[in-house]
Amino acid sequence: MAANDERKKLLEVSGLTMDFGGLRAVDNVGLDIYEGEIVALIGPNGAGKTTFFNCVTGIYEPTRGDVKMLPPGRPARRINGMKPNRITELGMARTFQNIRLFPAMTVLENVMIGRHCRTSTSIVDAIFGGRKAAAEERESIDKSYQLLKKVGLAEVADEFSRNLSYGAQRRLEIARALATDPFLLLLDEPAAGMNPQETHELDALITRIRAEEKVAILLIEHDMKLVMNISDRIYVMEYGKEIAQGTPQQIKENPKVIEAYLGEEAHA
């Protein structure tokens, strides 16, 4: 991808391998993300996509390989085995396949929690209510409201997050992830369980986020229409291995990918 090489690289994963006992869930996978890109990671169920995400975001420490973050304007960092909260501070945020909001907190609080790592109030300030703490709190509320407006949830800011509809919960997860000021956003099956109308809105939302928030997006998704629509590049995994990468057009025509999804031609 000559065009991409001129852009700044943000994430560089090379030779990533993850073993669980005797099972190799991810096998020597490499992946790069450049500024302004939307990249999709697809593959049949059990291909190791979510495990890949978990390795990159610090939930698992990979058995082998390198994960490097290249924050714009700051030095690159190898983040293997770093704690998830440190990785988030460096500028990577994610959502989950099975929604993981804080159910007993309000919608607004869920987003404000995301601001946590960007504010500097210490526990002592918080208890003794310094002016700085109050100012930061106000700023955090403002910013959170803006994000809620962006995902269309400002009206339900004071609801408990568990009372939201499924699609709304997914959008709230995205807002919370954005609240951490990421330059990389990882979405794990954002369209899962959505109806076609919701998926269509999600499509527009993701494109808008890329434009307005200056984040590069990596998503795992099974909805091929969504993937083909919004992705600049696609990586395909099967049985833990990377079997193809390229533009949506290249992927559509790649015989290996067709085989992985539809079975070998001889059987068809």
Binding site: R100, I113, T180
Partner: protein
């Protein structure tokens, strides 16, 4: 029926419940976040009382002769700081290295820490009961109520109420409070939104220890004597209160503590004071049979 007697018992029960509540909150907050019964929590309460005793001793010897109340406040502040340091260190040494160990390991470590602290204080101080000075003067305005509530009891009630309000504000509105709630609901996700979970856990231990130390100072000035073993029974009672209300649930701990305190004084007042503890633990058994999750606890659903 003698309503005056009933009211007197009720007041006594609420005072007792206040002390239990202050300690129970530490149990329940720690349990809510890391699912650990911190058996050494009662010892933090005892350490709080001892530090307060030592400070009052030093102040008296050094000729500091202001009102008793100011001595108490000064002693309480220093006791709180000490207890917070103890709580922080306890977590760091006894529990943090076992964060990813099977659940039984930190529990055993907690029991060990409890025994250690109790014996440590016994060794460096004394195993005997020590008198704790009467620092709360008889307030004049308490005169008409003195039949029901002594001045010390009034101080206990007011301090407890203020502490509860402060705790509620802390948990509901501050950044650390939000982080604590988030960590309680989903620790992995809390990390992923950038919360330093280790710091949150430390803060939880510190806050719990502060509350326990306040309880320690208050109870010492009420009973007038302390020794190195007072943490054991108080700890068990407060743990009972936390379970009664639904462990992990903050309002539940306060409710459970009040119910426990009132049940004890009523049982002691109407039946026999020799069986005070029997009423407390009998009530626990009853609640666990009828409502295993506690008064305000929700039935545990397995997370998928």
């Amino acid at each position: 029926m003698d309503f005056e007697y009933l009211f007197e018992l009720l007041c006594g029960g609420v005072v007792k419940g206040s002390i239990y509540a202050l300690i129970a909150l530490g149990y329940t907050m720690v349990y809510g976040i890391i699912q650990l019964i911190n058996f050494a929590h009662g010892e933090i309460y005892m350490v709080g009382a001892f530090v307060a005793l030592i400070i009052t001793g030093i102040l008296t010897l050094s000729g500091y002769s202001d009102s008793g109340l100011s001595v108490l406040v000064l002693a309480a502040v220093i006791a709180v700081i000490y207890a917070a340091a103890y709580g922080y260190t306890l977590e760091k040494i006894a529990y943090r290295p076992l964060r990813n160990a099977p659940r039984l390991s930190p529990l055993i470590s907690a029991i060990g820490a409890s025994i250690f602290l109790m014996n440590y204080v016994q060794l460096v101080q004394t195993p005997d009961f020590l008198p704790f000075p009467e620092l709360v003067p008889e307030f004049e305005f308490m005169e008409p109520l003195s039949r029901f509530v002594s001045s010390v009891d009034m101080v206990i009630l007011v301090v407890t109420a203020l502490t509860m309000v402060a705790l509620t504000v802390l948990i509901k509105y501050t950044k650390i409070g939000k982080a604590m709630r988030a960590t309680q609901q989903d620790m992995v996700m809390a990390r992923l939104v950038g919360i330093n979970v280790d710091r949150v856990i430390s803060a939880t231990f510190i806050i719990g220890s502060v509350l326990a130390a306040i309880a320690g100072v208050l109870i010492a000035s009420r009973t007038g004597q302390i020794n190195s073993a007072i943490g054991f029974m108080a700890g068990i009672k407060a743990f009972t209160a936390a379970v009664l209300g639904g462990i992990g649930n903050i309002p539940g701990a306060v409710l459970g503590a009040m119910v426990l305190g009132i049940a004890e004084t009523f049982g002691a007042g109407y039946i026999s004071s020799a069986y005070e503890d029997v009423f407390a633990f009998g009530l626990l058994v009853l609640i666990l049979i009828l409502r295993p999750a506690g008064l305000l606890g929700k039935a545990v659903k397995q997370k998928v």
